[in-house]
């Protein structure tokens, strides 16, 4: 009989090894799944992990990697701070939309003004928009003790309705012949979040994400605020004893994650997406939750997990179109990665022990 036994100390080797092992197990089990679907597993795995980077059309896919990883990392970093403190912002998707709407709103209001300060203003508006949207669950929780998971999640659907209303109403392109959707910001130079180096896929969002990773690392490891965040998450009673004010941290963590999600939305709408449209949001806010946990809430881990997740998205799309794999199989494959990571992660704190079956 196998039995789990708690380790006295978390194992460092297992903690470091877990993500690599999880990806390997995912490849094996996922490969089995693809084989059952009648595809060559090696080819599918190669298509997902290899082709986007080094395949024949890599010149097209490589920029996509940073375009997709940027917002994922940016949002996940914000979420991870809250998750560490036991504050569960599930509504990053909504904050992402509102950030995008605020950023685009500034650009469309000043159209066709040509000024250097327009883009910084949009950045500010995007961050403030996401922050304000996240303040709703934060204040309700602090003031009335509501559950931030439910409130933040429900606000996603409110934000989606608002997005649709904006795309069809106030923000609709007056020269768009009645089609829904705003002016395309890619064609509005002062507001365009353009690629910084041609063919790299890196725009200001990617730079911001990198800054966020560095700041989060310093915050968590070198600053009392980060220490308090970790303390509140691990031992709430000890945190209160140490003098941490849980309400203040709730407002701080939800605020930061909202602002970063808002920024991600703003960079997206002024860059790769370009316009306010009904189907602007594609689920970055939800996927970022997986990224945050895949990176085990560690800033550097999130950076790597964001890149890996973006890779499987792009590779998954290639596999879908080139090899006729159903979308559900790809989603399952991505889900497996988180599942196996959590399973392997257990080994950092527990060890397996073989015991003889006891007589009952």
């Amino acid at each position: 009989m196998l039995r789990l036994e708690k380790r006295a100390q978390p194992s460092k080797q297992w903690a470091a090894l877990a993500p690599v092992l999880a990806v390997l197990i995912t490849m094996v089990v996922g490969g089995g799944l693809f084989a059952l679907l009648g595809k060559n597993p090696f080819e599918v795995i190669r298509t997902i992990f290899w082709d986007p980077l080094f395949g024949e059309f890599a010149f097209y896919y490589r920029p996509q990697l940073l375009i997709k990883a940027g917002p994922l990392i940016l949002i996940a970093i914000g979420l991870s701070l809250g998750f560490r403190a036991g504050i569960w912002n599930i509504g990053a998707e909504g904050q992402y939309i509102i950030g995008a709407l605020c950023g685009a709103g500034v650009a469309l209001t000043f159209y066709p003004l040509d000024a250097w300060f327009l883009f910084p203003m949009m950045i500010l508006a995007g961050a403030l928009g996401g922050w304000a949207w996240a303040m709703i669950p934060a204040l309700l929780k602090v003031r009335f003790g509501t559950n931030e998971i439910l409130v933040s999640l429900m606000l996603v659907y409110v934000a989606e309705k608002l997005l649709a209303a904006m795309a069809l109403g106030p923000m609709r392109n007056p020269e768009g012949h009645g089609f829904p959707g705003s002016r395309n910001l890619q064609q509005y130079e002062s507001a365009h979040n353009a690629e910084l180096f041609t063919g790299s896929g890196l725009h200001w969002g990617g730079i911001t994400a990198l800054l966020a990773v560095i700041c989060a690392y310093i915050l968590l490891n070198r600053h009392i605020l980060g220490f308090n965040i970790r303390l509140l998450g691990q031992a709430p009673r000890a945190a209160r004893f140490a003098g941490v004010n849980p309400n203040r941290l709730t407002v701080f963590c939800l605020g930061i994650s909202g602002a970063l999600a808002g920024l991600a939305g703003m960079y997206e709408i002024s860059g790769p997406s370009g316009q306010v449209s009904i189907d602007f949001n594609v689920g970055y806010g939800f996927t970022a939750i997986i990224v945050a946990f895949l990176g085990r809430l560690h800033p550097v881990g999130i950076l790597l997990a964001g890149l890996l997740m973006a890779l499987t998205y792009i590779g998954g799309e290639i596999a879908q179109s080139n090899m006729n794999l159903p979308a559900a199989a790809i989603q399952m494959f991505q889900g497996m990665m988180l599942f196996f990571l959590l399973a392997v992660d257990l080994m950092a704190n527990y060890r397996l022990r073989l015991t003889r079956a006891e007589v009952s």
């Binding site: 004893f241 140490a242 007589v359």
Partner: protein
């Protein structure tokens, strides 16, 4: 009951190493030992909760290998645990029925409970709801549950830790009646004076080995303690010194408990002088946690109910109080005084940040924090591989030394401790008490909340008791005897109980 060469190994520790002992019918046999000496493992093997790796047991002349508690109970072994397993919302009779192998119909059971409770002098009403009972009464429920099974061997794990002196007296009477009928009792306790009073034989365990036995009534408490520890240790010494000015004043402090099942504080008033140790006794759950929370700042109160060096601090946050010099060490080590999964360095930072200057402009000085943790470890003899060990990996006694040491080394003006030596072995407890006494000699005011009366008598200048959130009059400790203390602990409520039992 005879036990020979029982061995049980857990990963990394030999909990029991060829332990042999004998227990005769009709005797109270004490099992002594420090925390982690292997007492619990030994009784768990007798009760069928743990299987020995090797060795054998004989019970009433026959080989005895209980596979689980069920078979152990059928053979006539019963056990009263330190922590009660009762359902608050159910009546006494229902609780007893739940723990029996074949409960009789409720009405018969009630009659049996009444009969047993009268025979053994354990007053208990079968239809009372357990949630309303005192700790002593709850323990009676557990004992009666065992007695109804007609045991031949009764195991009791630290039975007096939650009782008032009067309740202890009642318990001892019951146990003596049981032994007169030929029941053997295995009695686990830390309290050597009790053992000397009650037990005919004692077996001492140290690091999983039987290091000897003795006749408690012919052995001094000190000799027994030294057998447990394996070396002699210093009895804490107190020095006579004059008390200083009032540093902490609590004035008619009333506050609801922050948690649902807590006890509200009711009009607590006290004055604490520099250099004074005020001991606060009382059975657990009478407002101890709440009093500590009100002083640490976890629970805010009316501003002028708590006055520190002339400043009203009732509404100040924990960090601000620490900065002023009011330090606290809560009872619950893991999860309250320390974060289990964090390293000792991080735990040093937990309360040391303000007074030890472990941050600058909010940025952490890890080097300084580690140095502080290291100095706590060294000055308080905390046994740990190093400062980066997780707090949960330390044994209870070592972590307690760390928690107390962390506050002591911050040079407090007032130190409030709750259960400073709870679950700590004799040597460590002596070291902690000595540290508190030394601190008082240096002029620090100490408020020591504890359920260990011997401890309070040993170190405190003044004594008061908490009962249902009320504080009794404060009396000079030397002027009190055990009976008076018991009455103070019981409050008016306690007199009533004593009256019924008389």
């Amino acid at each position: 009951m005879a036990i020979s060469n029982l061995t049980k190994t857990y990963p990394g520790v030999v909990a029991n190493d060829s332990v042999s002992m004998e227990l005769r019918a009709g005797e109270v046999h004490a099992l002594l030992g420090e925390n982690g000496a292997g007492k619990s493992t030994l009784v768990k093997m007798i009760y069928g909760l743990v299987k020995p790796d090797s060795g054998s047991m004989k019970f009433q002349g026959q080989s005895f290998t209980p596979a689980n508690p069920h078979t152990a109970r059928q053979a006539g072994v019963a056990m009263v645990f330190q922590h009660f397993s009762l359902f608050d919302a159910m009546s006494v009779a229902e609780n007893i029925a739940l723990g029996m192998e074949n409960p009789p119909p409720m009405r018969d059971l009630s009659d049996q409970i009444k009969a047993v409770s009268e025979t053994y002098g354990l007053p208990l009403q079968p239809d009372h709801i357990v949630g309303d009972l005192s700790a002593g009464e709850r323990q009676r429920v557990e004992i009666i549950r065992c007695l109804l099974q007609d045991p031949k061997l009764l195991i009791m794990d630290e039975p007096t830790s939650v009782l008032t002196p009067q309740e202890v007296g009642v318990l001892f009477e019951t146990l003596r009646k049981l032994t007169a009928q030929g029941v053997g009792i295995l009695y686990i306790s830390h309290k050597l004076d009790e053992i000397r009073e009650l037990c005919q034989h004692a077996t001492v365990l140290r690091r999983g080995q039987n290091v000897g036995s003795c006749v408690p009534s012919e052995t001094s408490a000190r000799e027994m303690a030294e057998m447990m520890v394996g070396s002699s240790f210093q009895t804490p010494e107190r020095s006579r010194h004059a008390l200083g000015d009032v540093v902490l004043k609590i004035d008619k402090l009333s506050a609801p408990s922050p948690n649902e099942f807590g006890t509200p504080l009711r009009e607590i008033s006290l004055e604490l002088h520099a250099g004074e140790i005020l001991g606060i006794g009382g059975v657990a759950g009478n407002g101890q946690d709440e009093l500590l929370a009100a002083l640490s700042g976890e629970m805010r109160t009316v501003a002028d109910a708590v006055v520190f060096e002339g400043e009203v601090i009732g509404r100040l946050a924990p960090a601000a109080r620490r900065k002023m010099g009011l330090l606290t060490a809560p009872e619950e080590r893991l999860g309250h005084a320390a974060a289990p999964d964090m390293s000792l360095t991080e735990n040093a930072l937990l309360t040391g940040a303000e007074r030890e200057n472990l941050t600058s402009r909010g940025f952490l000085k890890w080097g300084a924090a580690q140095k502080f943790a290291q100095s706590v470890i060294e000055s308080f003899d905390v046994r740990t591989p190093g400062t980066e060990t997780a707090a949960r990996a330390l044994s209870g006694g070592n972590l307690q030394k760390f928690v107390i040491g962390r506050e002591v080394l911050q040079r407090p003006k007032v130190l409030v401790v709750n259960q400073p030596t709870w679950g700590v072995d004799a040597a460590a407890a002596a070291a902690i008490r000595q540290a508190l006494l030394d601190l008082a000699t240096e002029g620090v005011a100490i408020l020591c909340i504890s359920q260990d009366l011997d401890e309070l008598i040993e170190i405190s200048d003044h004594f008061a008791a908490l009962n249902e959130g009320r504080l009794s009059d404060i009396r000079e400790t030397e002027s009190l005897n055990m009976e008076q203390i018991g009455l103070m602990m019981g409050g008016a409520h306690g007199m009533e109980v004593a009256h019924v039992e008389a």
